[in-house]
């Protein structure tokens, strides 16, 4: 009897004391990949407005370096593979190859069509992390399973600007849109935000692209913006074909907001507070350019995953995504408050800085806009208006 008890005790000692230490000390590797659909530009887009070729990928690399620095203390290691291509077919082929190599977490910066294709072709247990696509449909009705969205939706951007207009009492808006698909989606989001925050649409105009603005911007746009009195011009020009010429060329002496002028993106080089200067410095030293919003989103995506691995001590994708969507998860992201996910549609909640070329103007959510759950949920389409209920797809 005594002997059995002794053996049992030794077993228990092993089970409770030694085993967890062995498990804790076990080295873990997390393999990630990033897929980027290379954007194409019309020749009218000036070079200085085109993003760097490694945009997004650089941000992910920075986060891998940061996380490995943390990981070495815990024997955790992180790896990244990257691939860029113009066509959906090539992107899907590469993703399938990665899937074969047992990489089941992929960061993606792709068009809406490619995102749908990837989700359809890849196995259900591959976690997709969207770092560039802002299309509202993926947050409201086209609820892709096992897909997280780090990039803010169009509505998060337009709500952020609308809150600022409301606070400043710039109520009357002249809306000018380009004619790309993205411009249409963004314009729809602007109109929803105008309604949501009770702002007035004075007039809506479409830019017709029959001139090269770099030569005659002054004349053309002054005539074009001659409508009833407005407080601001809200421009929807995702392709950067004319929006950059609106400021200082409006008929009335008015501000420009939207895709140009005062903008609401996840990140900008003007952000310094809350320790942001440290991240900006690290990035600049490594890549010799400023960190863009897409770089920041990719950085966030990797950091969310690696932070989950630090906390949960596992590299199993399913357990990581479950943890990220839980209430325990909080991500420090140099924005003065913790970030978390909206579990119903996989959207990351994050403050939206409003920036002009030389300074941070303010950060939304703006004080005074309340929400029962989190003030961050005043930005973007809220749960009652979303058909998504993704929680179970992550389990």
């Amino acid at each position: 009897m005594n002997r059995i008890q002794m053996i049992l005790n030794i077993f228990l000692l092993f089970w409770w004391v030694l085993l967890p230490q062995l498990v804790m000390a076990k080295p873990l590797t997390l393999k990630l990949a990033i897929l980027v659909e290379t954007p194409t530009f019309a020749s009218a887009v000036p070079d200085y407005l085109r993003p760097a070729a490694d945009q997004g990928i650089a941000g992910a690399k920075q986060a891998i370096a940061d996380s490995n620095r943390t990981g070495k203390f815990l024997k955790h290691h992180y790896q990244l593979q990257s691939f860029s291509a113009e066509s959906t077919t090539e992107l899907v082929a590469q993703a399938l190859l990665w899937q074969q190599q047992a990489i089941d977490i992929m960061l993606v910066d792709v068009s809406s069509d490619s995102l749908v294709q990837l989700r359809q072709q890849l196995a259900a247990d591959v976690l997709l992390v969207n770092i560039g696509n802002r299309d509202n449909q993926f947050r409201t009705k086209n609820c892709l399973p096992n897909t997280l969205h780090i990039s803010a939706s169009y509505s998060m951007q337009t709500d952020a600007l609308a809150q600022w207009l409301k606070q400043r009492r710039f109520n009357k808006v002249l809306l000018i849109s380009g004619n790309t698909i993205e411009d249409k989606l963004y314009t729809a989001a602007v109109k929803q935000s105008l309604t949501k925050f009770a702002l007035q649409l004075v007039a809506q105009k479409k830019w017709s692209f029959n001139t090269d603005l770099r030569r005659v911007a002054g004349k053309e746009l002054q005539a074009f913006t001659q409508v009833d009195d407005y407080d601001v011009v809200w421009v929807a020009d995702k392709a950067q074909l004319f929006g950059q010429n609106l400021a200082y060329n409006t008929w009335l002496s008015r501000l420009v907001v939207g895709t140009n002028g005062l903008r609401a993106n996840e990140w900008s080089y003007v952000i310094e507070a809350w320790g942001a200067a440290q991240l900006q410095n690290r990035f600049y030293q490594q890549f010799e350019r400023h960190m863009s919003a897409k770089d920041y989103n990719a950085w966030l995506a990797v950091r969310a995953l690696t932070e989950a691995m630090t906390q949960v001590q596992t590299n199993q994708t399913q357990l990581l995504s479950q943890y990220m969507l839980s209430d325990q998860f909080s991500l420090a992201a140099y924005k003065g408050r913790k970030l978390s996910f909206r579990a119903w549609n996989g959207q990351l909640r994050q403050p939206m800085p409003l920036t002009q070329a030389q300074a941070l103007v303010t950060t939304a959510p703006i004080a005074g806009f309340y929400h029962p759950r989190s003030e961050l949920d005043t930005l973007g389409i809220d749960k009652p208006l979303s058909r998504c209920n993704l929680m179970q797809t992550f389990q």
């Binding site: 940061d66 620095r69 943390t70 203390f73 815990l74 320790g275 440290q278 410095n281 690290r282 932070e307 630090t310 906390q311 909080s330 991500l331 420090a332 003065g336 408050r337 913790k338 989190s374 003030e375 961050l376």
Partner: protein, 323 residues
């Protein structure tokens, strides 16, 4: 008529510490200056130019000098308290932010935020003894009262690193809530208090097991949970109180050091981050970064008694009675 003897008798009624003028030194991060505050009159009596982006400051062991982390100048300045002059520099590595002095008064440990290093400095020789690899954005530094253990917290790695001061090697890492900012040992050295800015908590670690034994959360009335961001922590030597600066919640939490219960919240200036106790430990000074002022708390009355305008972004503070 009051004669001289009577005056002397009157003065001798007061113990010397009441006569010594406490002076507070506050580093102004964005003004590259120190504000000197007379704690009796509670007024700024001098503003002194120092190196670029001064942040952490602390007193030398003999209380004759201040060490100032001049982050952008990549140096630690030695500031003489008698002459109010910078009399020398210590090699600090790049971008020193916070630091801590070994009880022997000779070794200074400085966190180099941009390089993920902890630099160990020999103060008398003004030389670097060692540089230790730590996590991303090292921030809070503390040395145990017995001098055996050095702590550094890394803000982005979310870790407390335990370093053996004999070997200058990391011997253990404890994962902690997001963005650990500040570490402080209690007087006996048995416990370590660490604030987590984004986690919104203060963790208390047992220094034998190096495990978290308790976590304190804060809920000042009418303030959203996301704005509760603990930074500076100060413990009174009598074991009674712990003060925690709650950042953009604009409050100081008063915690019972024995039961870990929050017993009071005191409203101070905007984005309060660091704290200093006077030698008597009956006054607490808070630096309020965004509002550019400091608040003075009377600990016996447990009340904020004064706000004093200083420079832009006041960061670190020290109060001394030596002049």
């Amino acid at each position: 008529m009051i004669n001289k003897g009577c005056w002397l008798g009157f003065i001798s009624l007061f113990p010397p510490y009441l006569l010594a003028a406490d002076m507070a030194y506050v580093s102004n991060e964005k003004d590259d200056s120190l504000s000197v505050i007379d704690m009796n009159t509670m007024a700024v009596v001098n503003t002194i130019e120092v190196g670029e982006r001064p942040r952490g400051i602390l007193l030398s062991k003999d209380k004759q000098q201040l060490y100032i982390c001049a982050s952008e100048s990549d140096t630690i300045q030695i500031f003489d308290l008698k002459t109010h002059q910078v009399i020398g520099e210590l090699p600090s590595g790049e971008d020193p932010e916070q630091f801590s002095l070994h009880p022997n008064g000779k070794w200074l440990y400085a966190a180099n935020e941009d390089d993920a290093l902890l630099t160990v400095i020999d103060v008398p020789n003004r030389s670097v003894i060692s540089q230790i690899d730590v996590g991303i954005e090292p921030e809070g530094v503390a040395v145990s009262p017995d001098g055996k253990t050095v702590i550094v917290t890394s803000e982005t790695s979310n870790m407390v690193h335990w370093i053996d001061s004999k070997t200058n090697k990391v011997v253990h890492n404890t994962v902690i809530d997001a963005r650990p900012r500040y570490a402080q040992f209690n007087r006996s050295g048995e416990l370590l208090w660490v604030s987590s800015e984004i986690g919104g908590t203060v963790s208390i670690l047992d220094t034998n097991t190096r495990e978290i034994i308790h976590k304190i959360s804060f809920a000042p009335q009418g303030i959203h949970q996301d704005k509760v961001q603990p930074v500076g922590v100060k413990l009174t030597d009598d074991g009674r109180y712990a003060f925690v600066a709650l950042g953009p919640a604009n409050h100081i939490a008063v915690v019972d050091q024995q039961t870990y219960q929050v017993i009071n919240y005191l409203l101070v200036g905007r984005r309060v981050w660091q704290l200093a106790l006077n030698p008597q430990q009956n006054k607490l000074l808070t630096t309020n970064g965004v509002s550019g002022d400091v608040s003075i708390i009377d600990i016996d009355a447990m009340k904020v008694i004064k706000s004093i305008r200083v420079g832009r972004y006041p960061w670190g503070a020290v109060i001394t009675d030596e002049q």
